[in-house]
């Protein structure tokens, strides 16, 4: 079980790792500490999701990915 | 000057300033409003902003701004004197009969003294207040918060030049503010 991550202040453009190993880039962070609007960058389980946007629930962020590009 | 001398200067000034605040509180509680007005600089600014509930990280939205926003108080000596005058008419019904007040002043801290603690002309002091108000039969209010004051030297004494009052309330829980804080 991974350590909880406070998603409240994650920066748009950085990415997060989801439980199935998918990586999504944060498009919008509503700043509520519960949700992120993110776009799939990779999705090994279901490659059709790549490029799609989805709301990511905070407990589903298991790790931080790449930070936002400068 | 030794370090001990510097500490003694701070100690003496701290007590002198605290005594000023206690004496000011007593004047208000004893309803000696004219004498209280005499403790105010002619160009005093007396300001109590309103407070909002704001998101973590958006502290700049928490307080209403002086000069431009609506505040609870944001006024000078003329208006403060008119408040006293109004009470003294004896027919300001919100303060007639007059309230019973106790101003408890605590956590007095001298934040700075210019040009020096040894010979100060201006002092910045913070304190916390608990004001107990009881009026008519069972009406009771308590206001609690912090004050940020600037005092300026006036002969052997001090005048209150600026007061910012930070009240720990959002919706005001008392029906009026007929008293000074």
């Amino acid at each position: 079980m991974s350590e909880p991550i406070n998603v409240r202040d994650l920066v748009p453009g950085s990415s997060v790792v989801l439980p199935d190993g998918a990586v999504a880039e944060i498009v919008t962070n509503p700043g509520d500490g519960m949700w992120l609007f993110a776009r799939y960058l990779t999705s090994p389980r279901d490659p059709t999701l790549v490029g799609q946007e989805e709301m990511v629930f905070a407990p589903d962020v298991v790790a931080l990915g790449r930070p936002a590009a400068d | 000057m030794t370090e001990r001398d510097a500490r003694i200067d701070r100690l003496l000034l701290g007590q002198e300033i605290a005594d000023f605040l206690y004496r000011e509180a007593e004047l208000l509680d004893e309803r000696r409003y004219r004498e209280w007005l005499d403790l105010l600089a002619d160009d005093i600014r007396y300001w109590m902003p309103m407070r909002r509930n704001v998101k973590f990280g958006e502290d700049e939205r928490e307080f209403t701004r002086a000069d431009s926003d609506i505040n609870w108080f944001d006024e000078g000596k003329d208006t403060l004197a008119r408040r006293v005058k109004q009470i003294e008419t004896g027919i300001h019904w919100a303060e007639e009969p007059r309230s019973r007040l106790s101003h408890l002043v605590a956590n007095v801290q001298v934040q700075g003294a210019e040009p020096s603690f040894a010979a100060p002309q201006q002092v910045a002091v913070t304190s916390r207040f608990l004001i107990y108000r009881n009026r008519v039969q069972t009406e009771t209010d308590m206001l609690v918060g912090r004050r940020e004051d600037c005092l300026q030297r006036n002969g052997a004494g001090w005048l209150l030049a600026r007061r910012k009052i930070i009240l720990d309330q959002n919706v005001l829980l008392t029906k009026n503010l007929t008293f000074f804080i």
Binding site: W35 | F73, K85, H92
Partner: protein
């Protein structure tokens, strides 16, 4: 209008509590718990209520948490720029979705279970929607509860929960021009108002109807404010306001029957500009002198109307001049009111003018306002005295000036709508209160708007209408 038998014996509202025929109203209406509960259903759930002003939510995502009756609501502007008013309560289990007073956001998320709503109220985020709900929750049905109707009138935002309510325009009727005095520019341009930052909110231990009837046009209580007149907080250094324009005008009570809106109104003589005002600050005095000339140029005879305290039924108070402020009297149980105040300036007024007025507004109105303080004291103890067993057997007297209102009032060529009493000689009347409570009775008794929108059935027969008591 009499009640049916089923109503008799109820502990709440019953006919006879308000007896306008003799000008008496029972104290019961201020203190009775059942009447209060009925008011929430019959009045606050059906009427148009003032929520805020568009200048408080200028950009998409901006929000201001307000109140409609007892209930917390969110006034916000969605991504497309449209204004909404929502019940501030998660559809799932009720937690408030916003406990900040104002700000800007992309979503409103409930802290309890994480349901998340867009600024258009749509439910967009449901944790474990696929897993726990098996994708079967119809999100379209579970967005934030939105008001049935919303109206933006010259920047002021009004809302009602009742889809059957008439439009705001019809609800206001002939009172609209008095709301115009509040919202139009000092120089006569339409809708120039902006709200100063900082909404005053404070609690007063009285029933909401005490302030509501006071602002309906209590011309009798001026004596209570004598101390502030003696203190001289007015913008020319005397009294509590510049009295010049009032001293040269006819002083009226204007009541819009059928609507329950009423106001004090001053009407200048034909061709007369208001005397100089704001003499404590030459820049401000000159600004207003210029505004008054422009106002007359733009509005002609209409510019002779000088605003004063008024009330839009049920709980929105107006005051358009010295000071310029609107209030909402939010019910918080029968024995408590949460008063909110908005203060207005013209958005393009010079900063010196705005600052001068702001200083004046603060020392006049609100809990630190040297005028309003005495009102709250009166409301507090009048309410307290209304609660006693013996006290409640003795109704209040609302008889002043009964039977003296006229329709078709005119002064030097300017017609004033509604039922009017000219107070210039008689000093005072209680017609506005009778008008307010007549409407209160109608709301408490009417089953639906067919009974409330009584003006629709008065298809101008002779144009003459007997002035009501």
């Amino acid at each position: 209008m009499s009640m049916n038998g089923a109503m008799n014996g109820r502990r709440g509202y019953r006919s006879g509590l308000v007896n306008l025929g003799v000008g008496e109203i029972s104290r019961e209406i201020f203190v009775n718990e059942d009447i209060y509960a009925e008011e929430q259903e019959r009045i606050f759930a059906r009427a148009w209520l003032h929520v805020g002003h568009e200048s408080q939510i200028p950009k998409p995502g901006d929000y201001f948490v307000s109140s409609m009756g007892e209930e917390s609501v969110i006034l916000c502007r969605d991504r497309a720029g449209r204004i909404h008013v929502f019940l501030n309560s998660c559809r799932h289990r009720g937690m408030k979705v916003c406990r900040y007073d104002e700000g800007s956001t992309t979503v409103f998320t409930c802290p309890y279970h994480g349901w998340s709503y867009g600024t258009d109220g749509r439910l967009v985020g449901v944790p474990y929607f696929r897993e726990a709900y098996h994708s079967r929750l119809d999100k379209e049905k579970w967005g934030l509860v939105e008001v049935a109707q919303l109206s933006n009138y010259k920047g002021s935002i009004w809302a009602t929960w009742d889809p059957a309510a008439p439009t705001l325009s019809e609800y206001l009727g002939d009172f609209t021009r008095f709301l115009d005095l509040q919202l139009d520019g000092w120089d006569g341009r339409e809708g120039q108002a902006e709200v100063l930052g900082g909404i005053q909110k404070w609690l007063v231990p009285c029933n909401w109807k005490f302030p509501a009837e006071n602002f309906s046009g209590d011309t009798y209580h001026n004596i209570s404010h004598r101390s502030v007149d003696l203190a001289g907080i007015g913008p020319s250094g005397a009294s509590r306001r510049d009295m010049g324009e009032r001293d040269v005008s006819r002083k009226l009570h204007v009541c819009i029957p059928d609507r329950g809106h009423q106001t004090i109104l001053y009407v200048l003589p034909a061709g007369r500009l208001p005397p100089p005002a704001y003499m404590n600050a030459p820049i401000v005095a000159e600004y207003f002198r210029h505004c008054e000339e422009e106002r007359r140029r733009r509005r002609g005879d209409e510019s002779r109307l000088i605003g004063a305290p008024g009330e839009i039924f049920p709980n929105t108070a107006l005051l358009s001049r010295q000071p310029r402020t609107m209030a909402a009297w939010h019910p918080r149980g029968p024995h408590q009111t949460e008063c909110w105040r908005w203060f207005f300036v013209d958005r393009d007024a010079p900063s010196e003018v705005k600052q001068f007025l702001r200083d004046y507004y603060i020392r006049y109105s609100g809990p630190a306002g040297m005028t309003e303080q005495d009102d709250m004291e009166n409301w507090n103890y009048a309410h307290a005295a209304s609660r006693g067993t013996i006290a409640r057997r003795h109704p209040y007297n609302y008889d002043q000036g009964r039977g003296t209102a006229v329709a078709d009032y005119e002064y030097q060529g300017l017609r004033v709508p509604g039922e009017v009493i000219d107070l210039t000689e008689v000093q005072s009347s209680e017609q506005p209160m009778r008008n307010f409570y007549r409407r209160w009775v109608e709301f408490m008794e009417a089953d639906d708007w067919s009974q409330l929108a009584t003006w629709r059935s008065r298809t101008g027969r002779s144009g003459e209408r007997k002035a009501a008591e």
